[in-house]
């Protein structure tokens, strides 16, 4: 199991390659969409790079459970309901959803995903 620093270094490398950003822009607190300008297609690119860097398999929807965000049982008027938030927490134990929970607008989830969340995700996968 690599150390947290080693995981961060590889995640940073993946993000630098996928998003064309500078090393120093990739801080643990940086948000992927807000700070690093990731677009939806970049998430597929990032997933490919993480799989290769860590020799892991990431299933569709595992990093970003889009199926929950498009499910009418969990989303009403553009907001994720309590049941949906609980489901997201279950599926995303690696992410800090406390900020999202206070205003669970669907678009906010991707906006608030941070580099640290990505590192936590990898750590979670490696520990599984």
């Amino acid at each position: 199991m690599p150390s947290s620093e080693e995981i961060f270094d590889k995640v940073r490398e993946a993000l630098v390659d996928a998003l064309g950003v500078d090393d120093d822009e990739v801080t643990p607190q940086a948000t992927l969409q807000g700070d690093l300008d990731a677009e939806s297609i970049d998430f597929l690119d990032i997933v490919f790079r993480l799989e290769k860097a860590f020799d892991i398999k990431i299933e569709r929807g595992e990093l970003f459970p889009e199926d929950i965000l498009t499910n009418v049982d969990y989303v009403q008027d553009g907001k994720v309901n309590a049941e949906g938030v609980a489901k997201l927490k279950e599926r995303m134990p690696f992410a800090d959803l406390s900020k999202f929970e206070s205003n669970p607008i669907v678009q906010n989830l991707a906006q608030e995903l941070t580099v640290q969340d990505m590192c936590n995700f990898v750590e979670h996968k490696l520990a599984a």
Partner: protein
């Protein structure tokens, strides 16, 4: 102008790699329109040729039955100019294949000269990201014709060396086209 930017495959190994060639001729209008008075092959069209070669290789993985689109050029660099009378050789190699897409690395060479290097991402559009309301964007018979023109079934093999055959793929009309 017809949107064919590879002339023929010379190798096509499923889920692995393919090699395609493109002859560059003064008979092509773009040679005279890109830089007037100095005919060179536009690098955008070299990229398109690479994407067509890689896209067909990826499309085969999904049985030539799914919509595969170029989603992103992760990297691309060019190192020379390609002139009339030269032949481009595109080599595309599958780096990674997933249910939702693929990564392909590619080179373009003229003889031994390295002209371009690229890394491309292809996305597979399935029922979950339907963009046409379930109506196909192209006719299977048109895809079949293209595959025939560029020799996919003449050189295409699986990784165990067995030939792929046209009849193994659903390249027949099943529904209306937009």
């Amino acid at each position: 102008m017809r949107w064919f930017w590879i002339d023929r495959f010379t190798e096509f190994v499923c889920d692995s790699h393919a090699v395609a060639v493109k002859g560059v001729s003064l008979a092509e209008p773009h040679m005279h329109e890109h830089i007037v008075g100095y005919p060179i092959m536009p690098n955008s069209l070299v990229t398109e040729g690479i994407a067509q070669a890689g896209g067909l290789l990826v499309s085969e993985h999904y049985g030539f039955s799914e919509l595969v689109v170029l989603a992103k050029l992760a990297k691309v660099s060019f190192h020379s100019y390609v002139r009339n009378g030269e032949t481009l050789t595109y080599r595309v190699t599958v780096d990674s294949l997933r249910r939702d897409g693929a990564v392909v690395s590619a080179t373009a060479r003229v003889g031994e000269r390295l002209h371009a290097e690229a890394q491309l991402f292809f996305a597979r559009l399935d029922e979950s990201n339907d963009v046409t309301g379930g109506v196909p964007l192209f006719r299977p018979r048109d895809l079949r014709h293209w595959l025939q023109l560029v020799g996919v079934f003449e050189v295409g093999v699986r990784q165990d060396g067995t030939r792929i055959r046209e009849a193994e793929y659903p390249l027949v009309e099943t529904s209306a086209v937009v």
